[in-house]
Amino acid sequence: MTHINRKHTAALFILMIGIAMMFTACSQTGGGSNSGASGADSEGNAAPAAGGEAGKVLKVRFYDDPSGFDPASVFRIENENIAFNVFSGLTTYDSESGQIIPDLAESWETEDNKTWTFHLRQGVQWQKGYGEFTSADVLYSYERILDSATASPYAAEFNNVESFEAPDDYTVVIRLKDPDSNFLHVVANFHQGQIVKKEAVEELGDQFKWSPVGTGPYMFDSMKVNSEIVLVRHEEYFRGPAPIEKIIFSIIKDDDTAAIALQNGEVDLVMRINRQEALVRLQDAGFEMNALYDRAVNVKMFNTSIKPLDDIRVRQAWAHAVDWTGISEATNPLLESEAFNLLPKWMDVYTENVPRYEYNPERAKELLKEAGFENGFTITQHLNASNGVTDSDQLEQEFLKAVGIDLQFELVDAAVYNQIRNKGEFEVAGRQLPAVNPDMILFSYLHPDNIAPKGLNGARYNNPELTVKLEAARAEIDPDKRRELYAEVQHIAMSELPYIPLYSANGYWPGYDYVMNVTLNPLSQVNFYEVDINK
């Protein structure tokens, strides 16, 4: 009877454990930062750096796994935040007012909003020693966005561009097909507007998105996947080195955990908390809220191509039937404020002069009777499973039931939820309008060319009168006439209600009081160049 004796098995067993331990050890040394010097040790006391106050380190809560910082493909606000501080555009946004201010372009001029000449700043140094910034970099960046190989989703932003030229190292002339008063937003420090360096892109290939090289105040230092991202100060930044030497973004996904981590001092600043109760707790505990009010408008999209939503009266009845402000006050007073229009209040072309739909169930019933739906109808709305059926959804459902509209919810997971909305295969859906520039909202969501599934106009709204005024406003040079045209567009949209504004979202970056002047610009980006610590 042959069988191996016990010592033999014990040896094999220990060998197995050994493999497992070696597996753990080697991964620890092998992985980790994948470029540049590895960050300071975990307590955050950085090695003293040349120039600027030494040693200041800011720890910021990052709320999701990063998906890359290449301007051509960056998406989701938290990644755009990092890109905003690593890159620069010809223009950028003022943190307070959100207006366009000069960045890499010192100045610019245009007579007809069609030909734009930009005069570039001189002596600007690229990060990580990639030399001086010139107009060639600008041309390369824009051509890269348009190049189908990059397959950048933002190529469409340059549809209106005729040609780019660089007469000399420090001037860039851009000719448009049709005049566009908002063109400065297109070349701003956002998505396609962010300038990249040719040599860096070619050198790093598809890993460029994970170690971006720009001209902004902060350089990308290192990253531990799913746990930490580290930025360090760009010493030769053209506006001078930033006050804080290193920023460590630590990934904490759950909002409650983040609040607790902040209270426990593990982070100095939290990059977003969308949970009402957590915000109240932090506010009561005396933390700085660093709020940005009326950041972007959340709307309800009606698919006007299907019965009964094609009837304006039904949509108006829907608006009257629900006490939207009441819901916001009951569920998330801090996170939501009133909204009566598609554009956020901070935009210059925003107008108050639009029809309002106060909470009036009787009026809603009358409208439904006029439209021939006195005993109501049933509608299904898809919701994203990761945040489930929220309290506000359930309250809205109850209000609608009171007037006979039976709103059913169907929970689907994130990918399906987005697919349904992008393809327009919905009866009614929720959407947060991208608050970048008036054009981005009104043109994408109201213009017939952008009707789903080609564009974002999920409501399939097509009103020739509005379309004419919209295109005119785009081309109008005179700011007053432009504001008047946009006002009319908003008035028509708000009377026909393809979309109902639900509430205007507020953003909060709670942090300790020793973290100075953290200001969320209207794109809810924070320019860390302005932020300082005085402990």
Binding site: A330, S386, G388, A415
Partner: protein
């Protein structure tokens, strides 16, 4: 009861009950654990299914002014964020959750009995084939299954039940297979084969009745776990869709207000605990009564 040692036939308290089922029930009630289980379970089941008749508030009616109120006389379990009465939501939630538990338990029981018996009784290649698949499913992350189900069928009762059943079925199959192997070695199987009893006779008259008791015990434990898993699934947004209450999604919503309103998720949690405890006790009771071998 004399066990026939001295030939007398009447029980000490009267005539021995002819039907086996009645006698088993009588034994369960006499067994301490079984009694406690039935005492807890019965009122709950009655309560859950009588809910529409009972003087309870409408579980879906919200009242914004009374948001996040602590337990009081008119709201036994307090109110949630929208001011809805948690007690009535728990009662109707119990109905849904018990439904999930019972259906999952039945599916795993029947699936386990059928496939386990086939695998255990026939053995050979069939057995290796079934066990191969069971291993693959066991090594399959059950969460991927759950998310897949929801993505295909959308959230709600059906995908939750399917996801949990598929995750628990392999365990039930393995248990049944081992039970069949041990029963199959009993001499009474040879006695039946001695008269050329056909396979279905061996399976349904001899083998399955003798594996029923342990499988029932396992089923009641699966039911308790299913209710709990539904709660964790609703954490990922995959459970029963609100506003329709289930014990799982009430606890999930309550968890967000744990510091402000601890009662929202704690009290329904106790209800789940009571249901699970009684199911476990019932399973111990069944095991002791129907499976004399286990009595020490």
């Amino acid at each position: 009861m004399q066990n026939g040692m001295d030939g007398s036939i009447t029980t000490s308290k009267g005539i021995s009950l002819p039907r086996p089922k009645l006698r088993a029930l009588q034994k369960i009630l006499r067994n301490r654990q079984g009694l406690v289980a039935v005492l807890i379970l019965l009122p709950m089941i009655a309560f859950a299914f009588l809910a529409p008749v009972l003087p309870l508030q409408d579980p879906l009616k919200s009242n914004i002014t009374a948001s996040l109120q602590p337990p009081s006389t008119d709201n036994l379990f307090g109110t949630d964020k929208l001011g809805r009465d948690i007690f009535s939501r728990t009662v109707s939630g119990m109905q849904t959750s018990m439904m999930v538990g019972i259906i999952v338990a039945t599916i795993t029981l029947c699936g386990g009995l059928l496939i386990g018996s086939v695998s255990g009784f026939f053995g050979g290649r069939m057995d290796r084939f079934i066990m191969g698949i069971v291993d693959i499913f066991l090594s399959f992350p059950s969460l991927l299954l759950a998310i897949g189900m929801v993505a295909i069928f959308g959230a709600g009762m059906l995908p939750v039940i399917i996801a949990i059943s598929i995750a628990d079925l392999p365990r039930a199959i393995r248990l049944q297979r081992s039970l069949v192997l041990s029963v199959k070695s009993g001499a009474f199987i040879d006695a039946a084969r001695m008269v050329s009893a056909p396979t279905h006779w061996l399976l349904f008259r001899h083998i399955i009745p003798n594996t029923l008791a342990p499988m029932l015990v396992a089923a009641s434990i699966t039911a308790a776990n299913a209710i709990l898993t539904e709660a964790s699934l609703s954490f990922l947004g995959l459970g029963i869709t609100p506003p329709e209450p289930s014990l799982g999604n009430i606890i999930r919503e309550g968890q967000m207000y744990l510091q402000e309103a601890w009662w929202i998720s704690t009290l329904p949690g106790l209800v789940i605990f009571a249901i699970a405890i009684s199911l476990h006790l019932l399973s111990d009771g069944i095991r002791e009564v129907l499976d004399p071998r286990s009595k020490r």
